[in-house]
């Protein structure tokens, strides 16, 4: 007990008790005990020491870097982003021409990265949830099949998987003999050809569709309440409104569905997903999907057996048990780790460089090689990757907090 008292008093040794009686204790200093005698004082000293050391290190390296910059005649600045890129990019979802600026090229790369990351996140979630639930099944055959997939995908390098899918896609038949699914989706050497929505220029239809969607959004809440007796969730309303918008717009002829038509050497109409894009997206989805499947399995198995038994004895059906007892608790355990998986999907899109897909990393490394402005380029690169990472982390943390609160209620 005594030790704790003097520790709390801020001294790090017990006050000496042996010498009392011989000499009077020294009078207490007006400034309190010396700075290095107390924990707080030492904390201040250590931090000052650390700050000085850090400052010196930064100063030394900045000086070296400055000397190198001067010697190589480089100057810092973001002007190089306005220079003409002069490189053609095989695919972009925002308009791009070789005479656009380097800065625009970087944006094109970022858009490509985001496109892959978003699709791969969605697909991997679907794969992960389905396979994860299957992994808990008692059926040994199902366990074998899903286990083979999960272990194979988790224990080989992602780069290898990307290269493998890419090579396989390039070995597919030429356009004339493309594999097709009901003559609307084609798979060939040129990638995946899918039907596309095209804007037909009918803005009246667009207005009608928007009006219909807004009306539905506003009217849905009272209607739903009168039928089901409770207010619909905001997400439900938004999704239904969006579906209405797209459906009405297609019906009114604002958008036309353009199916791909097979030619001799290439397709006309539809939308081309290049082999690079398909390989990258497929590899990413399968890789992340395997990891998410294991998380889902862990989450479901983590729910205590007694909980299911209790739910059964209350008379809940299997589906009710899953929905009301197992899933909420499993989600609580899964969400933080799945966030990490989404973040690594964004990060790992950078492997696109191995198959020449023009992503954010490709655009920046090309820019750096072209302009020689490596310091600025690297700064943009780090910032670009940390931004979505931090954003996703914040969003998912908030979601997680909500889940925890709901669990405690």
């Amino acid at each position: 007990m005594l030790d704790v008292t003097w520790r709390k008093a801020g001294l790090d040794e017990a006050p000496s008790t042996t010498a009392t009686g011989l000499l009077p204790p020294p009078p207490p200093s007006l400034l309190g005990p010396a700075l290095w005698r107390t924990r707080r004082g030492r904390a201040v000293l250590w931090q000052i020491f650390g700050a000085v050391a850090l400052f010196v290190v930064v100063l030394v390296f900045t000086r070296i870097m400055y000397a190198n910059l001067v010697r190589q005649n480089l100057n810092l600045g973001l002007d190089f982003l306005n220079r003409e890129a002069g490189i053609d990019i095989a695919e972009s979802i925002i308009p791009y021409a070789p005479d656009d600026s380097l800065g625009w090229m970087i944006l094109v790369g970022a858009a490509n990265t985001l496109r892959v990351a978003i699709i791969a996140c969605l697909l991997s979630t679907v794969i992960g949830v389905v396979v994860g639930v299957m992994r808990v099944s008692e059926n040994p055959l199902l366990k074998l099949v899903t286990g083979a997939y999960v272990n194979l995908a988790r224990n080989t390098p992602q780069l290898l998987q990307i290269l493998f899918w890419y090579t396989l896609l390039l070995e597919l038949p030429v356009v004339r003999r493309a594999l097709s699914l009901g003559d609307t989706i084609f798979l060939s050497q040129r990638g995946l050809q899918v039907p596309a929505l095209e804007f037909a220029g009918n803005s009246a239809g667009l207005a009608v569709a928007a009006a219909a969607a807004i009306a539905l959004f506003l009217l849905l809440a009272p209607l739903w309440r009168s039928i089901f007796g409770r207010t619909p969730h905001l997400v439900t309303r938004l999704v239904l409104a969006l579906i209405t918008f797209v459906a009405v717009a297609i019906f009114a002829g604002t958008f036309t569905l353009s199916p791909p038509v097979r030619g001799t050497f290439n397709f006309t109409g539809g939308m081309t997903l290049t082999p690079e894009f398909v390989a990258l997206t497929v590899a990413q989805s399968l890789y992340a999907g395997a990891f998410i499947a294991e998380l889902v399995r862990g989450g479901i198995e983590g729910v205590h057996k007694g909980q299911r038994e209790a739910a059964g004895s209350l008379g809940l059906s299997n589906l009710q048990m899953l929905r009301l007892v197992v899933v909420p608790q499993a989600l609580l355990a899964i969400v933080p780790s799945v966030t990490t998986q989404y973040i690594s999907v964004i990060k790992n899109s950078s492997l696109a460089i191995a198959i020449g897909f023009p992503d954010f990393f490709w655009a920046l490394s090309t820019t750096i090689n072209f302009s020689g402005h490596s310091i600025e380029g690297v700064a943009i690169m780090v910032g670009g990757y940390l931004l979505p990472t931090l954003l996703a982390a914040t969003l998912m943390n908030r979601f997680n907090k909500k889940l925890v609160e709901r669990g405690q209620r």
Binding site: G50, N155, T156, L163, V378, Y385, L386
Partner: protein
């Protein structure tokens, strides 16, 4: 009035909830017991018959086992002579011919020390020294000098490079990782902030980007006249990233140790560093070992990314070999071979981590 008393003991009844089924009946029930199970079983059988026989034909029965590229092109199956022909290149990369025994020895040492480190009985001070000795001797064998003819770092490739980057990074990064983990727990705000910034920055940016940045940026921070070979730049990048991951793995371990332990140690008069090295750290490491093994698996797989800065490890050597004009068109075989190699090593390590985890939970 007659009373009836049971005279014979009642024979034990089987537990109605735990029907003792024969193995065949049990499997029958799980496979075909309910309509859902029948559906699942049929689906699995369909998938297996669609995938397994063609795969088997490609891999084995229709494959070419020895011969020339022309014979391979005529056959429908895989071309294994390609692997046989290029095997030495996969393993050694561009390593000088007459010095290959050194690369072999380095591979043996690295696999050997990893194997020894997996046995819990050997965990202790001796193992740390053995690891250090192994790392020093591997660097000496591969780079040369001190009596061995030196090898240019650009010549190091293939399997030794993969192992060098993945298996030495963990012990080398451990001290830095420990410092970061301690910094993150420090009561000094400055140290905490620095550690968090370093950990999050290196975990948040892609390894590809870190490698690229290291290879582009490090020369800027070197004084005039000093250069750093590409291998060392890559090693530095891997090291700091590994340190960030190790710090996170150790953080989990630190959180498990109850506060009372260090208070007890303090009360018997131990100094702070004694508490850390004698009380807390041994337990923290024991708790973090599954996480650390997972990091080894991660780095074993991700070493392949150094291809982006133009170095050729095991996977890159396979890719290079499949560009040989004589053997063009057989890269899938190379990738399958690589997958088998990586899978064996990583799956074994994953199982090992799982076993350690289970053992820890049982204790």
């Amino acid at each position: 009035m007659t009373t009836f008393v049971q005279a014979q003991p009642i024979p034990a009844q089987p537990n109605p909830n735990k029907e003792e089924l024969s193995a065949a009946r049990r499997y029958g029930k799980v496979l075909l017991g309910t309509p859902t199970n029948v559906f699942i079983t049929v689906g699995c059988v369909v998938i297996l018959t669609l995938v397994v026989p063609p795969l088997f034909r490609w891999l084995f029965s229709e494959a070419v086992w020895s011969g020339t590229p022309e014979e391979c092109r005529r056959a429908a199956g895989a071309c294994w002579p390609f692997i046989q022909e290029k095997f030495r290149f996969f393993i050694y990369g561009m390593f000088p011919l007459e010095e290959r025994w050194r690369a072999t020895l380095a591979i043996v040492i690295l696999f050997g020390i990893t194997g020894i480190a997996m046995v819990p009985r050997f965990w202790g001070k001796g193992l740390v020294l053995a690891w250090l000795a192994a790392i020093v001797s591997v660097f000496w064998l591969l780079l040369g000098g001190f009596g061995l003819p030196p090898v240019r770092t650009e010549m190091i490739g293939g399997l030794p490079l993969t192992l060098l980057l993945s298996l030495t990074v963990l012990p080398l990064g451990f001290p830095v990782g420990l410092l970061l983990a301690l910094g993150r727990r420090s009561e000094f705000r400055l140290f905490r902030w620095i550690s968090i910034a370093v950990i999050e920055a290196f975990r948040g940016s892609p390894l590809v980007a870190t490698l690229f940045i290291a290879s582009v940026m490090l020369p800027f921070f070197l004084p005039e006249g000093m250069t750093l070979p590409k291998l060392m730049r890559a090693l530095a990048a891997f090291l700091i990233v590994a340190a960030a991951y190790i710090a996170e793995a150790l953080r989990g371990g630190f959180q498990v140790i109850p506060e009372g332990q260090s208070e007890a140690a303090f009360s018997i008069g131990m100094k702070r560093w004694q508490i850390l090295f004698l009380v807390t750290l041994p337990q923290v490491i024991r708790h973090s070992i599954p996480g650390l093994v997972t990091i080894v698996v991660l780095f074993f797989k991700d070493t392949s990314l150094i291809i982006v800065i133009g170095m050729s490890d095991f996977l890159a050597a396979i890719q290079l070999a499949s560009r040989d004009p004589a053997w063009i068109g057989f890269s899938v075989e190379g990738y399958v071979f690589a997958a088998a190699f990586y899978f064996t090593f990583c799956y074994a390590l994953s199982l090992y981590a799982l076993r350690l985890e289970r053992r820890r939970q049982n204790h």
